[in-house]
């Protein structure tokens, strides 16, 4: 049990059914796996599209065997076919004005379409993708020239362009499949060029590409294995959507009579154009069936393309939201908290669980604490502890598929039970937020003055302009931003100044409670010191209750009055900063402090192992696999919060409650050897 499996791993240590030698297969398996895993509407659409496309491909490949007659055939066994005959047992889809069998023509039309489109796709990919790669990777004048050429082609009305090329080519080369394919190719090259080039531009800046260069890989190796391998996923989507478009373009060309020589091949567009005259005379079958064929195949290809996009594009992927509920016993367990006098916010047994394919992930699993006014509570934890989820969970800013339980008492109302509407009204004037990345939180198109105006107007619609200005400048003054910069845009400020503006924006509405999630992580240490001192001021000037979420114990010691240490979704220890730092009682807190490298560190210390998988946390105390002082009871029963000294709470069997520990529960736990393979 103790070995933590890596995500996606099975007990035997290998992907089932594969030996170490099947590396290519492994790659393929990884590529296909998302497609197999997708559920719901996208899957249904994709497979429908794929089926339709497959049917047409089969028709195309086996056309001579499937079609009862040739595409130009108007006679069989010496008997001429009826002219413009409606669908019958002999001619399933009727005949045309020149006695050709419509059914056969539709099938051969499929062959023509598929042939032309496959050729065109191949050419476009073979030309467009390498050009995009080279252009994106090398940049410079080559890039500028290629972009100019491709943009010009792209800007040209595509049908007109295809017509011109087809026209020119057919007079020299002839009006066959190749001509049509080339005409279509030229039109679509820019699409591949663009998509690949743009993907390359973003991948090019990734550290692993720089790593490839630093290893000494030649440019062509870097392009092939480091860039292209990570860019290639964008091509199939474009290819399938292009294929759909290409069918239409081909049909349009033939419709206009420029596509293909009718004696060389059957083509749907050509049939449709002839079918117009027929329809006016009441012969509906000659144009309808080719038209339906075009629609079906294009739809099929489009569904395939969109299906691939939905599957592989992480932004579009919708997680599987199987409805689930928290088990009753989980919800009933209560957690202890240090009780305060008239707290501003009171959190009790808060739980935030996410839905995943492996089952619910218990990111926050029973957390209780309180914060008074003018008090800063530091919530400290490493990655995977659930601290950020907790911050967002209080505010209700959780992604779809997360469920909450417990209560968050704020100004007489329970935030967990509040509606979205109510939360919207509270966020801002009552509860302020300061996030980690100030660069991405300010609207680059709005001046700072506009940001303040918007914030104030939203919550105080009747406020006057003069009042907005006065309060904004007051808030900015509090964070030492000069009034001369009031009308600047965000890009005109440095990172530290932007974070100060964020704080000012959070404060201008004078909220009673502010949550700051890693507010200084992205900043330099001198700027961090400035921000921390501003944060310390605000609780004095505004009577704010502050929840400061961080991974840095130094910041907690510097800026917080009380601290709560989080591990694997639970608060394992909470109390006054002076108390916890001088006498940490929970082994995790002790280990964390010993592992922190500060200027006074003489000896390195680390905690072996890794934080647990929150989808399947360890039994009993979640820290027991890594705890140097674990006892038998720690594995068997979840510890209960104990007030070790006034206002200092810890969840640890080392401190009791004694009566709940079974007779042999105190025996030290035999810990399994924790290897690197299980490490964080």
């Amino acid at each position: 049990m103790a070995t933590t499996l890596l995500p996606g791993e099975f007990e035997s240590g290998a992907v089932p059914g594969m030996g170490p030698g099947d590396e290519r297969l492994r790659g393929l398996h990884r590529a296909i796996a998302p497609l197999m895993a997708v559920h719901g509407l996208p899957r249904w659409l994709f497979w429908t599209g794929a089926t339709i496309t497959l049917v047409f491909v089969v028709l195309a490949v086996f056309a001579p065997e499937i079609a009862p007659y040739g595409y130009n055939q108007y006679v069989a066994h010496g008997i001429r076919f009826p002219q413009q005959a409606p669908p019958s047992a002999v001619h399933w889809l009727g005949t045309t004005v020149v006695s050709e069998d419509v059914y056969s023509r539709v099938i051969f039309g499929a062959r023509t379409s598929i042939e032309v489109v496959v050729l065109a796709l191949m050419f476009s990919v073979v030309i467009g993708v390498p050009l995009g790669l080279i252009s994106g990777y090398f940049g410079g004048w080559l890039d500028r020239v290629l972009v100019l050429i491709n943009d010009s082609i792209f800007a040209f009305p595509y049908l007109l362009l295809a017509i011109v090329i087809a026209f020119l080519l057919s007079s020299s080369v002839g009006g066959g499949v190749l001509t049509a394919a080339i005409a279509i190719t030229v039109v679509y090259i820019p699409q591949y060029f663009r998509v690949v080039r743009n993907t390359v531009l973003s991948v090019r800046e990734e550290p692993y590409v720089e790593a490839g260069r630093a290893l000494g890989a030649k440019p062509r190796t870097v392009i092939r294995r480091y860039v292209f391998a990570n860019v290639v996923h964008s091509v199939p989507v474009v290819a399938s959507l292009n294929a759909a478009d290409a069918i239409l373009t081909l049909a349009a060309l033939s419709f206009l009579g420029i596509g293909m020589d009718p004696s060389v091949a059957a083509e749907w567009g050509y049939d449709i154009s002839r079918g117009i005259a027929d329809a006016q005379a009441g012969f509906w079958w000659t144009g309808l069936f080719p038209g339906l064929a075009v629609i079906l195949l294009v739809t099929g290809l489009t569904l395939v393309g969109e299906g691939i996009n939905d599957t592989f594009n992480p932004l579009l992927r919708r997680p599987n939201h199987r409805r689930f509920a928290m088990p009753k016993d989980a919800r009933e367990a209560t957690t202890a908290a240090v009780e305060m006098e008239r707290p501003v916010v009171r959190v009790r047994d808060l739980r935030v669980w996410y839905a995943t394919d492996r089952g619910p992930v218990r990111a926050v699993d029973g957390v209780s604490f309180e914060i008074r006014e003018r008090e800063t509570l530091g919530l400290v934890g490493e990655s995977g502890s659930g601290k950020s989820t907790l911050g967002r969970g209080i505010l209700g800013l959780l992604p779809v598929g997360a469920i909450r339980d417990g209560s968050v008492d704020f100004e007489g109302r329970d935030l967990v039970k509040a509606t979205q509407q109510e939360m919207r009204h509270l966020r801002g004037p009552s509860i302020g937020l300061v996030f980690q990345e100030p660069m991405t939180r300010l609207d680059p198109l709005m001046r700072i003055s506009d940001h303040f105006a918007e914030a104030l107007h939203t919550h105080e619609p009747d406020i006057s302009d003069a009042e907005i200005r006065r309060r904004s400048l007051e808030a900015l003054g509090g964070v030492r931003i000069p009034p001369t910069r009031f009308h600047n845009y965000p890009y005109e400020f440095s990172g530290g100044m932007r974070q100060r503006i964020m704080i000012a924006l959070a404060l201008v509405l004078k909220p009673r409670f502010v949550i700051a999630d890693e507010p200084t992580t992205a900043l330099d240490v001198l700027v961090e010191a400035q921000i921390l001192s501003i944060i310390a001021d605000l609780k004095n000037n505004f009577d704010t209750a502050l929840l400061l979420i961080t991974h840095n114990l130094g910041i907690v010691a510097e800026s917080c009055d009380r601290v709560a240490v989080m591990y694997a979704g639970r608060i394992v220890e909470q109390g006054a900063v002076a108390d916890i730092f001088s006498r940490p009682e929970h082994p995790y807190t002790q280990e964390l402090m010993r592992s922190t490298i500060s200027l006074s560190t003489r000896k390195l210390h680390y905690i072996p192992g890794a934080p647990p998988d929150l989808a399947a946390p360890p039994s009993g105390c979640r820290f027991h696999p890594r705890c140097p002082q674990a006892m038998e009871v720690c594995r068997a029963k979840e510890p209960v919060g104990i007030e070790i000294r006034p206002s200092h709470l810890a969840e640890c069997w080392l401190h009791g409650p004694q009566e709940e520990i079974p007779p042999d529960g105190r025996r030290p736990l035999e810990r399994e050897e924790i290897g690197i393979a299980d490490e964080a």
């Binding site: 290893l215 030649k218 400035q530 280990e591 680390y606 964080a680």
Partner: protein
């Protein structure tokens, strides 16, 4: 064959670096400037668009077997410097020598064989491994690039050896995994394995632990220390974190806006920091000790724009101890006014703002600044206002740089002292060598 690289190094590892021998890496007056794109019009007319002086005259030596920490905040140029050493960015001036041979200015083809001896580990373990390559492919790629190993079996053997070195065991469990299957600490170990597989002599580590959790950092540092000992590695440790640098480095170089401002043995730097920036950095670190509070009088402001750095000493606008030669100029005047106005009430601000005209003229650096006077006010009023400022904040270093404040027809001319650009100078009377680029330590300039 690659195993020979490792074994040969063992004997080298036990020596203390001897300053008299040839340094492994010697950087002399290195400059790396990136030209700015400028506006369309500027480019059309062929005007000079300016450049960002990311590295602006850096000189240091690195002896075999030692660890030199390059410490600085964002914009200090430490990352650019490390990339320049590895020929991943173009050097604009100065030289870099590796084992006595000049390596700056070599073409990629000439430099390629050197990459076996100079390696790089990155900050973000989640982004420095190619997501499309298995660990076996990634760690084994250097072997293939440099044709060290022939055949899959040989590559696998050497990769396994490297993985064992960094503790990724059982090896079988990691060889065929993709980076997304590994944790942050495991990925960083894989990056280390890739870096050492060719038996390099110098490893540049760019913030190797800053993105790892605290409980894992120590493990990584310990591993890096073990490798240094076992493989005779020399490290250039690039970081902003003075705490880990103290633990890991023998010598420290503090960088600010493209220059080294202080350099010396770690013991000396941490016990007696001399440059005001170094002092500030050390004092600003929040310690996990509630009785220790960060001082409230730390330098304000932020690292300035590297395209047009401050005159003289780049740190002077923020330095609490700056004085007359440090490079006072018109932009400092602009900042001084703005900072003062940030502290005033709205009415006071409006009153003062009206007396002062447009401040755009103060944005190009100059030792003589003309502040235009606001409409309806006189130059003498403006001069009186500036005098009021001086009297209300006499300890502001800004005023030590001002020579004169003279009313003119349409404004006030403020003249500053000529600036002197600081150079790294050794400090006298110390146990271990230390160099500082600060006028406070120049007897001919410093007050008293």
């Amino acid at each position: 064959m690659a195993a020979a690289h490792w074994n040969a190094r063992r004997s080298a590892s036990q020596m203390r670096p001897d300053p008299a021998t040839l340094p492994l890496l010697e950087v002399h007056d290195l400059k790396v400037h990136f030209s700015l794109r400028g506006s369309f019009l500027q480019r059309m007319l062929g005007r000079d668009t300016g450049s960002v002086k990311a590295v602006d005259g850096v000189t240091f030596k690195l002896q075999r077997g030692e660890v030199l920490g390059l410490v600085g905040e964002s914009g200090s140029g430490k990352t650019t410097l490390s990339r320049a050493v590895l020929s991943l960015v173009k050097v604009t001036g100065g030289s870099i020598a590796f084992n006595g041979e000049t390596i700056s200015g070599l073409s990629e083809r000439q430099f390629r064989p050197l990459r076996k001896r100079l390696q790089l580990i990155f900050q973000d373990p989640h982004a420095s491994l190619n997501p499309a390559m298995t660990i076996l492919d990634a760690v084994g790629h250097p072997l293939r690039i440099h044709h060290i190993a022939k055949g899959d079996v040989e590559v696998r053997r050497l990769v396994s050896q490297s993985l064992e070195r960094v503790g990724l065991v059982p090896v079988q469990r990691f060889l065929y995994k993709y980076p997304s299957d590994l944790s942050g600490g495991q990925k960083q170990r894989a990056v280390l394995a890739r870096a050492i597989i060719l038996g390099p002599e110098l490893v540049i580590a760019d913030e190797p632990v800053s993105m790892l959790d605290m409980s894992v950092r120590a493990k990584m540092l310990e591993l890096m220390g073990d490798l240094k000992r076992d493989l005779g590695l020399t490290y250039l440790y690039v970081t902003h974190d003075l705490a880990t640098a103290r633990y890991f480095c023998d010598r420290i170089a503090i960088m600010y806006l493209g220059r080294i401002v202080e350099m010396g043995s770690a013991a000396e730097i941490y016990s007696k920091p001399r440059h005001p920036y170094t002092k500030a950095l050390l004092e600003a670190i929040p310690e996990p000790d509630p009785s220790h509070k960060v001082p409230s009088d730390l330098p304000r402001g932020e690292v300035p724009d590297a395209a047009v750095p401050p005159l003289g000493c780049s740190f002077h606008p923020r330095c609490p101890r700056a004085f007359w030669p440090c490079g006072w100029e018109s932009r400092d005047l602009h900042s001084m006014l703005e900072e003062r106005w940030a502290t005033l009430s709205p009415d006071e601000y409006l009153r003062e703002r009206a007396i002062v005209g447009g401040l755009e003229g103060l944005d190009s650096p100059s030792t003589e600044a003309l502040i235009p006077v606001g409409k309806g006010h006189s130059a003498t009023e403006l001069a009186a206002l500036l005098d009021e400022h001086r009297r209300s904040t006499p300890e502001d270093p800004f005023w030590r740089g001002v020579v004169s404040v003279e009313p003119r027809a349409h404004g006030v001319t403020v003249r500053f002292h000529d600036h002197v650009t600081p150079e790294l100078q050794p400090v006298a009377d110390v146990d271990e060598p230390v160099e500082v680029a600060c006028h406070l330590y120049r007897p001919d300039l410093a007050p008293g």
